[in-house]
Symmetry: C2
C-alpha cells in the first residue's frame, strides 16, 4: 500500500529517534491536557468532571487486511473506533494514546502514514495525542489505542438504564460498512487472481468509505445536548444492531421490539447487498462496524427527536419476560439473536 | 508453559463469553473508580487531582520469550512495567486497562494464567482493572496495558526539573534484571540442545526474579512522601541508568557526573556478571528493565535521604556545557552514552 522507492530504515532511526520524529507533528489543543508526550506519563486535569477511559486492540489479519486498507485510513479508523466508545457514554473525547508495533521490514514512511491518519482523526475530532508506545513486532502490524474523555456526573449514560416503554433510537444508517467489506473482499479476490484488473468500486464510494473511513458520532452527542435529550441508555454499534441492542436489554434487564421496516438502510447498501445475495436487514442486524449510536429515550422526548433527520426510532423497550424481538416487514415475530462479528470464530 | 491436558477452546466460548469469564474475578477497590468493566468506557472520578496516563505494548518475540517466561509472570510483569511509569511522575496508580491478543490455538487456561498474573499485580498494588480488549491474533501473543493514576497538582515530578547542584539518587540496585536475562537465555540454549538437562538456576533466585517478576517502586514514592522529599525530576529505569539519566539531563538542559563506585549493584549480580564475562557496571548502565526510580533532589534534602537504606546518591547535576560523565573507579572520566535496549535493533 506504500511506495517502496523512498525507504528510511527503522533500525537506523532507533526507538527514540522514531518517537521524536513522529511526535514532532503533534500539537495540543485540549485545555484538559497539562502534559502530553515526552515524560513517563501524560498529565491531565478534569477538575470536576468524570473521566472516561476506553481501549481497543487492532491486529493485522484479524481486524484489518493490509491488502485493501490504506495505512492512512487504518490510522484514522483505529482512532475513530475508539473515540466512538467515549461518545457512547455521552461524553466528549479529549485525548488518546496511540501505540504501534510493526516489523522493522516496514519503512519509516509506512508508520508515518498510519500516524498521519491518526493525527488527522485527532484534528478532526479535536482530541490530543498524549502518549503511546512504538515497538518492533516479530510478526504483523499491531495498533493499540486508548481514548480518554470527560462528562458531567449527571450526564453519564450507561448501557443499563433502559426502562419499559422507552423508545429505541439509532443514528445514521446501518449495514453499509459490512456491505462495503464484501465489495473490498470481492475486488481483492479478483485482483489476486488477475493483478491486471483494476478494482471496480465505481459509484460505491459511500459504502466503501463506511468500511474504510467510519466517523464516530460526536455530532450526535452534541445534537442530543443541544436538544436537551438525555438518553436512558446508549451503546455504539460495533458488532451489529442485534448484538448491541441485546447488550442494552441484558444490562437493563428488559426486552425489546425492533421493527424491520424502521431500520435505516441506505439505498446503495440495499442494492449492493442484493447484488451479493445478502439480506440488507441481516447486514444491518449482524454486519457491525457501523459505529452509529444506539440509544433509548423516554417517550416524553419523542417530540424532540421526531424531526431530527439523522435519528430514527426503530422500536421500544418491553418488560424482560417479553424477550427481544424483531417484527418483520410481513409482521412475523423473530427472536433477536447476536450473530455479530466475533473475533474468536471469524471462520464461521 | 501450561498443561495442555485441560483445554477449553476459545472459539466455543466466543469473545463475549471469554470477557465474561475473565472479568468475573475482578473486584474494584479504588474510590476513584465509578464504573469498571462492562460498558463502552470506564468512568473515573479524580475530582481535584491531576490524572496520569501511561501505556505500553508488549509483543511476543520482542519483549518476551514464552520459552522461559511463565504466563502468570508475564501478566504480572506487564502490569508492573506500566505502573512504574505512573510512580515515576510521583503519582499513585489507581486503574489499568489490560488488553490481550492471542492465537485461538491457545486454550482458555493460558489466557487465565496471564490474567491471573495481571490481577495479582493489581491486588498487590491496589489498582483496579477497569477495561480492556480481548481478541484473536493471527500472529503471536500481544499485550497492551494502559495505567491511570493521580497526583496533587503541586507534586507532579517531570523529567525536566533537574537543577545544577542537585543530587542524583537511585532506588534499589541495578543490573540484576539484565544478568537474570543472560542466565535464562543460557539455560534456554542448553535446554534446546538437550531437553533432558534441567535448568540450573539454583541460588540465583534474586536475579531471575528481577527479570521475571520486577516490582514497581510504589514504596519509594510513599517513602519520599513520608520524608517530605519532593524530587526535582524523576524517571523509571527501563532502558538502563545511562539512557535514563540522559533523558533527565537533555530535558532539564543540564549535565551530570555519575560515580561508578556509587552505583548500587547486588553481590549476586556482580558475581554472575563476571561468570558471563560481563562488566557489572555496564549491566547497570545499559542493561535496563530494573524498574527502579532515578531522581534528583535539592542538596538541602541530603540529610533526609542519607540514612535511607534503599536510596543511593550516585552523582550530581552539572551545567549543560559540562556534559554527562561517568567517573570510573580508577578516576577516569568517560562520556555517558545511551546503549540501552532498543526495540528496533535488538540484533545488534
Amino acid at each position: 500500500m506504500f511506495d517502496n522507492s523512498e525507504r528510511t530504515n527503522l533500525e537506523e532511526l532507533g526507538e527514540f529517534g522514531l518517537i521524536r520524529h513522529l511526535t514532532e507533528a503533534i500539537s495540543l489543543s485540549q485545555p484538559t491536557t497539562v502534559k502530553g508526550v515526552g515524560d513517563d506519563a501524560a498529565v491531565l486535569d478534569f477538575s470536576n468532571k468524570k473521566t472516561l477511559i476506553s481501549t481497543d486492540l487492532l491486529l493485522e489479519g484479524i481486524h484489518f487486511d493490509l491488502r485493501y486498507v490504506p495505512l492512512k485510513h487504518l490510522g484514522y479508523k483505529a482512532v475513530q473506533v475508539n473515540l466512538s466508545d467515549i461518545y457512547a457514554m455521552n461524553g466528549m473525547a479529549s485525548q488518546i494514546t496511540f501505540s504501534i508495533g510493526l516489523s522493522s521490514k516496514f519503512p519509516l514512511e509506512a508508520i508515518e502514514e498510519i500516524y498521519e491518519g491518526a493525527l488527522l482523526a485527532c484534528k478532526h475530532y479535536q482530541v490530543d495525542l498524549i502518549g503511546g508506545d512504538t515497538s518492533s513486532s516479530a510478526q504483523g502490524l499491531v495498533i493499540s489505542v486508548t481514548s480518554i474523555g470527560y462528562v458531567d456526573e449527571n450526564k453519564v449514560v450507561y448501557r443499563n438504564g433502559a426502562a419499559e416503554g422507552n423508545l429505541i433510537c439509532v443514528s445514521g444508517d446501518l449495514g453499509a460498512a459490512y456491505v462495503g467489506l464484501q465489495l473490498l473482499e470481492r475486488e481483492k479476490k479478483i485482483f489476486l487472481e488477475n493483478p491486471n484488473i483494476q478494482p471496480d468500486l465505481e459509484g460505491k464510494d459511500y459504502i466503501v468509505e463506511r468500511q474504510l473511513k467510519p466517523e464516530a458520532r460526536r455530532d450526535v452527542i452534541e445534537l442530543l445536548d443541544e436538544k436537551e435529550i438525555l438518553p436512558t441508555s446508549m451503546i455504539d454499534i460495533s458488532d451489529g444492531l442485534a448484538s448491541d441492542i441485546l447488550h442494552i436489554c441484558s444490562q437493563s434487564k428488559k426486552g425489546c421490539k425492533i421493527y424491520e421496516d424502521k431500520i435505516p438502510i441506505d439505498q446503495m447498501t440495499f442494492d449492493t447487498a442484493f447484488e451479493f445475495g445478502l439480506d440488507p436487514t441481516v447486514c444491518a442486524l449482524s454486519g457491525g462496524e457501523d459505529y452509529e449510536l444506539l440509544f433509548t429515550i423516554s417517550q416524553n422526548d419523542y417530540e424532540k427527536v421526531k424531526n431530527l433527520m439523522d435519528i430514527t426510532v426503530i422500536g421500544h423497550i418491553t418488560e424482560e419476560a417479553a424477550g427481544c424481538e424483531l417484527i418483520s416487514k410481513s409482521n412475523k415475530v423473530h427472536p433477536l439473536k447476536a450473530q455479530g462479528w466475533n473475533a474468536f470464530n471469524k471462520s464461521e
